[in-house]
């Protein structure tokens, strides 16, 4: 019935053209080029020379920093911040849906606000709070109440840097995924709950598992994808906090930082491209899991 399109109807290309042109130019081609470059030696000055899989072999067998620090760091960071931020977003969205509109709007705004300041502006605040001498807020506070006897170099110490990175990222992770979930919870028709109770649901927990989450699958999926992508993009935080790439003793070094280190500091572009391909594969794998869990099957 709706396939009434005549032969001359190509209007969809008119609607799609701008997106496709830009998408191909700035996303598809660079990704393709990154894959090609990853098989070459390229120092950004001479033409790339083909060296096969050497970059990958080197990355896996010889790059101790990558295997011992960067990869474990990235996985730890991703596994805590990704699911952690995601679950937190859902709980907050769900709790917010239980209060009246005006109050909800104000609270949602405040909870969302950290993710608005993402990146640059935030590093300023956190570096002052975690500053290494006694003028740092945290040090000052802990010294005053007597927990510490001398200030701790929070951001330069390998022991604390990662924990602080996780904390700061979680704090700023109530972003668009959180908003989508909030609108998802609010969108559920209350009659469904009513029907659920008639069918034998008898507590809040069952209500969440059997009704709330299944009824907002698209928003849950959107939130999950945003969480995965956001987590792997959060590389800037460690460098911004510690003020150095590489971070002190590679304590907060994530794949994105490793990539920048090789690409823009050492100019080993081929090697950096190989890291980026590995990063794409890792992100893809994580997103696949998210699709499995929340994707609509059609």
């Amino acid at each position: 019935m709706k396939t009434k399109t005549t032969k001359r109807d190509h209007s969809h290309w008119m609607f799609l053209a701008p997106y496709i042109v830009l998408f191909t130019t700035f996303i598809i081609i660079p990704v393709g080029a990154a894959i090609l470059l990853s098989f070459t030696y390229f120092n950004a000055i001479e033409t790339p020379t083909f060296i096969g899989l050497s970059n990958y072999v080197g990355l896996i067998t010889q790059d101790e920093v990558f295997m011992q620090k960067v990869l474990p760091n990235t996985l730890t960071f991703a596994l805590i911040v990704g699911p952690g931020g995601y679950i937190l977003s859902f709980i907050l969205a769900w709790a917010l849906a239980q209060v009246p509109k005006r109050m909800r709007t104000v609270l949602a705004l405040i909870i969302y606000s950290p993710s608005m300041t993402a990146g640059v502006a935030m590093a300023v605040v956190w570096t002052i709070i975690f500053s290494g001498d006694e003028t740092g807020y945290l040090n000052s506070l802990l010294l005053t109440i007597g927990v510490l006897l001398e200030p701790i170099q929070w951001l330069q110490s390998p022991e604390y840097l990662m924990k602080i990175m996780i904390f700061v990222t979680l704090w700023g992770s109530m972003g668009v995924g959180f908003l989508a979930m909030l609108s998802g919870v609010l969108n559920i028709n209350t009659e469904i709950y009513e029907a659920g109770y008639i069918d034998g649901i008898n507590n809040r927990f069952q209500e969440i598992i059997y009704i709330t989450i299944p009824s907002m699958k698209p928003q849950m999926l959107f939130g999950a994808v945003m969480a995965v992508v956001g987590t792997f993009q959060a590389g800037a935080i460690g460098v911004a906090l510690s003020g150095a790439n590489p971070t002190p003793q590679y304590a907060g070094q994530l794949m994105v930082n490793h990539l920048e280190d090789y690409g823009f500091i050492r100019y080993e572009m081929g090697y950096a491209a190989a890291i980026s391909v590995v990063l794409l594969i890792v992100v893809y794998a994580f997103s696949k899991v998210a699709w499995r869990l929340f994707g609509e099957k059609d």
Partner: protein
């Protein structure tokens, strides 16, 4: 409504059963807000308070000096600060408007039109959701160089316009609009373009508002284009300038601290304003939009 007491989702008025949620939400919100509140106070602190020991959270004698300094300061090559701010505002406006138009148009075609490549295009777009810009920074640089975009104003704009997440979101929304509605409009003689403007756009406002917020944050906070693709100081953006203030200035540089504090407030305010303007749209339920 009915006497049904099982759930109290989306309540219309306050009831004491909500206290347990507030007991959890309010302290958390206060905690989340602390650094933001801090940005506000910090920006208005005179120099002696910025370095007071023990450090103070609140400001005693607020001053606009930091802002005055920030705006009268020119950077090393003589470019005034206001120039960076102007660049940022223009770039951001253009990117947000164009991103919204481009994604909504593409979303409409992918959702309501039938053609061969439809599935494949959406599939590729979904894959691209996972694309981490930093991962392909190098080939992107080479490509932008090839296109002759280095050191142009366009380089701030073009690479940010295709937003896979925006297309994904808007397409999902348009999927929920019943085909019958469009059929009816077509029978009434509406052209494709009219259907798009009169029916699709008004019905997917929440998705549009979400993309607008997302793309605003992306471009306003972005320093990538200024640091990688632009050497001409006069073409750089405010967020980049802001990042140089925080990275080159160490903690003890007295003048730099005040500037950085004022600059972070200026970075933050537009985000807040945009969100407040658009939030009612974002949280708007589909029930209001007449789809359900």
């Amino acid at each position: 409504m009915s006497a049904f007491q099982g759930t109290k989702m989306n309540p219309s008025k306050f009831h004491k059963s909500q206290l347990k949620f507030l007991a959890f939400l309010i302290p958390l919100a206060i905690f989340m807000a602390l650094p933001i509140v801090y940005i506000f106070f910090h920006a208005f602190k005179p120099i002696d308070e910025l370095f007071a020991y023990p450090p103070r959270f609140f400001v005693d004698k607020p001053t606009f000096q930091n802002f005055v300094d920030l705006f009268t300061k020119t950077n090393d090559t003589g470019v005034p600060m206001s120039r960076f701010l102007f660049n940022s505002v223009v770039v951001t406006l253009i990117v947000v408007v164009l991103t919204v138009i481009i994604s909504t148009m593409a979303g409409y075609a992918l959702s309501k039109k039938n053609f061969k490549m439809k599935k494949a295009i959406f599939e590729i777009n979904t894959l691209a959701l996972m694309f981490v810009p930093a991962a392909v920074a190098i080939p992107r640089y080479l490509l932008i160089d090839e296109l002759g975009l280095i050191n142009t104003f366009l380089v701030h704009i073009l690479p940010l316009l295709a937003m896979p997440i925006g297309l994904f979101l808007v397409k999902q929304f348009i999927d929920q609009i019943p085909d019958e509605l469009l059929e009816a409009a077509r029978l009434d003689g509406a052209s494709d373009f009219q259907i798009f403007v009169r029916i699709i756009v008004p019905l997917v406002k929440p998705a549009i508002a979400t993309i607008a917020i997302l793309s605003f944050q992306l471009v306003w906070n972005s320093i990538e284009s200024s640091s990688l693709y632009v050497n001409d100081e006069g073409l750089k953006t405010f967020s980049f300038y802001m990042s140089t203030l925080t990275s080159t200035v160490d903690g003890n540089n007295v003048a730099g601290q005040g500037l950085a504090a004022a600059a972070s407030l200026i970075m933050f305010i537009p985000n807040l304003v945009i969100f407040i303007i658009l939030q009612s749209q974002v949280m708007n339920t589909m029930a209001h939009s007449g789809i359900k």
